[in-house]
């Protein structure tokens, strides 16, 4: 502290701020990048626009986080590249939409918040259920035979993904399906003269809840300790007497469930679903997990928010660059930190 003050006296406020800034950049690269991006955007637009875009970006990021967190865990724990993860996103979207469209049609169009929740919650739960069940079968049939071989994993999971998406078309048809967003979550709330979309607020809240829950499980519970230990050294976890494969199966199912949850949320956000929506989202998902540092939940969360924000900011400032911006962000971060924002250290 005294050094900082000393420098500040000699060289003015800026001279003290630079090393402090540098320390902040190196110690919390995720916060540094997030705040930096938000500030840069704020300079380039008026406050109201900025706030609306930030909320939308955060909402998109929160949904991306749901979709990406499962994949990053699967990779981190078992070194498995599951490129069929996108199919689980689609699956969740269709499962959620099915509940919304057919079973709960009356509640979904009703305007009472509680009746709406009574349709949204079962829709999300059903998405989670379907995705986890298929995830369980998928792990047994497709993933288990190809442990330890990335090339085979890529080939086999891409194949599995095609099959899953074709199965979706068999069950639900190949046309796009419009998904009704429940009345109570459509429209906006007006805060200080700024209209904030309700559904986006809901997404952010849900994303934060899932992030908090996952962080709690990973940091505080015994299962979390096991997962962290497994990421580091699988063999030693077995030596302690734990069956790593069961742990991995659990994580894989949870990851599929989260993909399903994210997919269902995305379905209500876009209000239109196709069997291939998961494939389109996979590009962002892969960017998010690489950007965040493969295997890191925290990195995944920040990566997702960053991707969401840059999409919206750049989409507003220069729409033609929006698609480039996401990949550009990844390239820039990797040049700065080749292991991603928050790397998981392996021994």
């Amino acid at each position: 502290m005294s050094t900082v003050e000393h420098t500040a006296v000699r060289g003015g406020a800026l001279a003290g701020a630079v090393p402090a800034m540098r320390r902040f950049r190196d110690q919390s690269p995720h916060w540094f990048l997030l705040l930096g991006m938000m500030l840069a955007a704020l300079v380039m637009m008026d406050f109201t626009t900025w706030l609306v875009l930030t909320l939308s970006g955060a909402a998109m990021g929160a949904m991306l986080f749901l979709m990406a967190s499962g994949m990053t865990l699967t990779f981190g724990l078992m070194n498995v590249l599951n490129l069929a993860h996108g199919a689980f996103i689609s699956l969740g979207a269709y499962a959620g939409a099915t509940v919304l469209l057919f079973w709960m049609n009356d509640q979904a169009s009703a305007s009472s918040v509680w009746l709406n929740l009574a349709s949204v919650i079962p829709a999300l739960l059903f998405a989670v259920l379907v995705a986890s069940l298929i995830g369980w079968v998928f792990e047994k049939l497709v993933i288990k035979p190809v442990y330890g071989d990335h090339l085979k994993q890529i080939l086999v999971t891409v194949g599995g993904s095609i099959i899953l998406m074709q199965l979706i078309e068999v069950v639900w048809g190949s046309n796009e399906i419009p998904v009704p967003r429940p009345e109570a979550f459509s429209g906006a709330v007006v805060v200080a003269g700024i209209a904030l979309e309700k559904y986006r607020l809901l997404s952010v809240v849900l994303g934060l809840l899932v992030y908090a829950l996952m962080t709690w499980i990973i940091e505080r519970t015994r299962v979390g300790i096991l997962i962290r230990a497994g990421v580091e050294d699988r063999e030693m976890v077995e030596v302690q007497g734990y069956r790593v494969h069961l742990l991995f199966l659990g994580v894989f199912i949870a990851g599929s469930a989260l993909a399903g949850l994210g997919g269902a949320m995305w379905a209500m956000y876009e209000e239109l679903i196709t069997a291939h929506m998961g494939d389109e989202l996979m590009i962002s998902v892969v960017v998010v997990i690489i950007l965040g540092g493969l295997g890191s939940i925290k990195g995944c969360f920040f990566g997702a928010i960053l991707v969401g924000l840059i999409n919206l900011y750049v989409g507003f400032l220069e729409p033609r660059l929006a698609a480039v911006a996401t990949v550009g962000l990844m390239v820039a971060v990797l040049m700065w930190r080749p292991q991603g924002l928050i790397p998981v250290i392996r021994v």
Partner: protein
């Protein structure tokens, strides 16, 4: 060549063969580990000592032969199952989880889910640095402290057999001494220990029985006292004038 007839073997390997990739590492290992004793497994680099421990633990597949633990035939069992029947393994690289705190490392090692307070107190008394660095990531510990954690992890719950691979490797003499004291204590508790070691002074101080390996086979078994007193035998088995280095 005979073991003390009064002692039932804790572990018995009969004609065990094992490969690592295409290399035939164990070529018919016959080994008896007497119950309640500390047995040292000696031999040159590449003799197959570490592979023997890994094979007992189920980490290397048994191609032929049999491994009996007490009354059970554990040949071909999966590692977690072997661990749960009371065998703990401290590998050469110690296998401490560096991202986890000392506490978390021990929490995981207590497979039953709860750490016995009395036993934990005893353990922290045995290895005081573990108490000092209780909530720090194990990756920040020194080599000797990591070794203490690795052994501590193995004995956080009562085990029937400890397999310890070269605990003194790379450690300063003062720390080796501390480790020897700790192992003496475990010996006094009548824990069966199979110790792979290159440091003969350390082995001689701790070992009761000894087995010497060469080229994937056990070529000598007997009491440590006999080997320690017979320099010619040491020369022949280990190829070193070990007596001169004491």
């Amino acid at each position: 060549m005979t073991m003390d007839a009064n002692l039932k073997p804790a572990l018995r390997l009969t004609g065990v063969h094992a490969n690592i990739d295409q290399y035939h590492i164990l070529e018919g290992v016959d080994l008896v580990v007497p119950k309640g004793e500390l047995t040292v497994l000696l031999g040159r680099n590449g003799a197959g000592k570490s592979t023997t421990l890994r094979t007992i633990m189920g980490l290397t597949t048994v191609k032929a032969g049999q491994i009996r633990f007490g009354e059970q035939d554990i040949t071909g069992w999966a590692t977690p199952r072997i661990a749960r029947c009371g065998i703990a393994f401290v590998p050469e690289h110690m296998g401490v989880f560096g991202q986890l705190t000392v506490r978390e490392n021990l929490v995981l090692a207590a497979v039953s889910g709860v750490m016995d307070e009395g036993r934990l107190a005893w353990l922290l008394d045995l290895f005081p640095p573990l108490k000092k660095f209780w909530d720090r990531p194990a990756g920040n510990l020194s080599g000797g402290q990591k070794q203490m954690l690795a052994i501590g992890r193995a004995v956080i719950e009562p085990r029937e057999l400890l397999l310890i691979d070269e605990p003194t490797k790379g450690l300063a003499p003062a720390i080796i001494n501390d480790l020897a004291d700790a192992l003496e204590q475990l010996k006094a508790e009548k824990v069966t220990i199979l110790l792979v070691e290159q440091n003969f002074a350390f082995s001689r101080r701790l070992g009761q029985s000894v087995a010497v390996m060469n080229d994937g086979r056990v070529v000598h078994t007997g009491s440590m006292a006999d080997l320690a007193n017979d320099e010619a035998l040491q020369h022949r088995l280990l190829g070193l004038g070990l007596g001169e280095h004491q």
